[in-house]
């Protein structure tokens, strides 16, 4: 080509964004030392749900597929851990995570084959139906899953050395909180690379225009399938991390209403941004905990709050914040 031009590199500067993350990270690190134990545990739950939400958002925000069945992969992660404890006596958290990853890869690979041929409402309904199948299995096969009583899971061993014997709350607030934070940071870093990789761009292309994506040579079904698996694995990891916090797995986490919560977290935070689902998950978790403590009609109370939030912040918390910041910077 004869034309001489200067190269345009896309105006995304990830490094500058890390500066915004630094104070947040500082707060996350010192929190167990300054906040009440209850607050720290609540935040640990929030971080776990945030991992599930960024996994979910790889499909909604980046691939344009609204899954209403992510409870399935969260539940698969959690039940994989519970069953490993029950039948194999495994107590190592790292093995629990590996088991959860293996189980969610298996389940998402199979569910994915059926789901990725569809889009929009058909995709959503199919994912929801499949998750309900797992819910009813967990519900009915009580001799394996404990039915509605669920399965009790004792505190695991972290990194082969740290055990939760003794004061369980102290373990959860300190050792386990930092463990969750560590896994959370690793998950965020990996997901950030994925969405900014050539593969991540291809997913966004599929989201924007399936036909065109096909006509630049992208095998759309295969890429959606891979995205589906990755998405489910992150959510499965979240499920595994959730078990020690809750101490018990029950079929509730496989029910479609739990999928609805994950959808809500992403929408509340802003599914068009990378950090939106993280913020949404933490905020939703606080809202729900306070609503439950505040009134017995907490579902109604929460529902009203959520409707108001979505109507007033249609682009989510992070989307709105970004717009406000851009407006403030604008006149300069």
């Amino acid at each position: 080509m004869s034309t001489v031009t200067t190269v345009v590199i896309p105006a995304r500067s990830p490094i500058r964004r890390l500066w915004y993350a630094a104070p947040v990270l500082a707060v996350l690190l010192v929190l167990p030392w300054v906040a009440e134990q209850y607050q720290t545990i609540l935040l640990a739950y929030g971080l776990v749900m945030a991992i599930a939400a960024i996994g979910f958002n790889l499909l909604l925000g980046y691939t344009g597929l609204l899954s209403f069945g992510h409870s399935a992969y969260f539940g698969v992660g959690a039940y994989a851990v519970a069953l490993m404890v029950k039948y194999l006596g495994v107590v190592s958290m790292e093995l629990h995570l590996l088991g959860a990853i293996a189980a969610s890869v298996l389940v998402t690979a199979i569910f994915g084959i059926a789901c990725v041929r569809y889009t929009r409402i058909f995709f959503s309904i199919l994912t929801m139906a499949l998750s309900q199948v797992l819910w009813s299995l967990a519900f009915k096969f009580f001799w394996v899953t404990g039915g509605t009583d669920g399965l009790r899971v004792p505190t695991p061993t972290l990194l082969g050395v740290v055990t939760g014997k003794g004061d369980k709350t102290a373990f959860l607030v300190h050792q386990y909180y930092y463990y969750v934070l560590g896994v959370f940071l690793v998950c965020v870093a990996i997901m950030w690379v994925i969405v900014n990789s050539p593969f991540g761009r291809a997913l966004q292309a599929i989201r924007d225009n399936e036909t065109r994506a096909q006509f630049v040579g992208i095998p759309i079904w295969r890429y959606r399938w891979v995205a589906f698996m990755l998405s489910g694995v992150f959510t499965g990891v979240a499920g595994a991390l959730w078990v020690p916090l809750n101490g018990l797995t029950t079929p509730d986490i496989l029910h479609w209403t739990f999928s609805g919560k994950i959808v809500f977290m992403a929408v509340l935070g802003g599914f068009r941004t990378f950090v939106g689902p993280i913020v949404g998950a933490v905020v939703y978790n606080y809202l729900e905990s306070y609503a439950v403590g505040y009134t017995v009609y907490w579902q109604l109370f929460l529902g009203v709050i959520l409707v108001v939030l979505v109507l007033s912040l249609p682009t989510g918390i992070v989307g709105t914040a970004e717009r406000l910041m851009a407006r403030r910077r604008g006149p300069r």
Partner: protein
């Protein structure tokens, strides 16, 4: 000149309606060809069959001697067939630059990479920038494709196809929906790129001024079959084309019409 693409008696049936009826169609290497005909003549269906959006019911499609009739789109692109769309198909929430870069990543087989950063691949962005410049879109590199004007969108659609480095480029109405004044600059840009790179192009077009001024050869279709095939001068004088497509069996206007 050798034959680049050849269809042999291809048929496409939609229910009772035969959209493409035993068509033998050829594209020579390096030529710019126009495909004309009224709505429903089968032009777009023919292009869909060749590019792989639809599969032929009967017949064969040979590209550089290889049978591609049943091949998936991805393989046809790899072989060198690319296309643009009548209703522009872009990635609206990505920038113009990202749109072109994606085609390059895909061509180089890099979209499989999920643990490396796209922005770090400098040669790809260099090439994407050059392609945008060729299509006079460099000023809009960072504009989201959804925010471009219709004319710019048309050009970007072609630029994406061009970035796949095709040997044969199908352009489905590259100037439809664009103001009369914008047509010539768009066609000038596209045709000069195509000719300088030696790419063969087949353009579906309704605007006869565009057809006659930019093409080496014209193929006229009617009711799923080929009605006429020849140079612009031959087509201008073809009785069948004049009666069925242009509607008035008048002799063509002299090129230097007295005023």
């Amino acid at each position: 000149m050798s034959v680049l693409l050849e269809t042999k008696a291809v048929v496409k049936q939609f229910g009772e309606f035969r959209a493409v009826d035993r068509v033998d169609f050829r594209v020579q290497e390096g030529e710019v060809l126009a495909l004309i005909g009224s709505n429903g003549a089968g032009k777009t269906t023919l292009v869909n069959l060749i590019s792989g959006l639809l599969t032929a019911d009967e017949g064969h499609i040979l590209f550089r001697g290889h049978d591609v009739t049943k091949q998936p789109v991805k393989e046809r692109i790899r072989a060198g067939i690319a296309r643009s769309f009548q209703l522009v198909n872009l990635f609206d929430q990505l920038s113009a630059l990202d749109n072109v870069a994606l085609a390059i990543f895909s061509r180089q087989g890099k979209t499989r990479r999920l643990l490396s950063l796209a922005d770090a691949d400098r040669p790809v962005w260099q090439e994407a920038t050059d392609v945008l410049a060729l299509f006079r879109l460099d000023a809009h590199a960072r504009t989201l494709a959804g925010g471009l004007s219709q004319g710019e969108r048309k050009l970007l659609d072609v630029a994406i196809a061009y970035a796949l480095k095709p040997k044969l480029l199908f352009l489905d109405e590259p100037t439809s929906g664009v103001g009369t004044r914008e047509k010539a600059p768009i066609m000038d840009t596209i045709v000069s790129v195509v000719r300088s790179e030696g790419i063969s192009a087949a353009i579906i077009e309704h605007d006869m001024d565009v057809v006659f001024s930019y093409s080496d050869r014209i193929v006229a279709m009617h009711q799923g079959t080929i009605l006429a095939d020849g140079t612009p001068d031959q087509i201008r004088r073809d009785e069948k084309v004049l009666t069925t497509l242009i509607g008035t069996p008048e002799p063509p206007r002299p090129s230097q019409g007295g005023g």
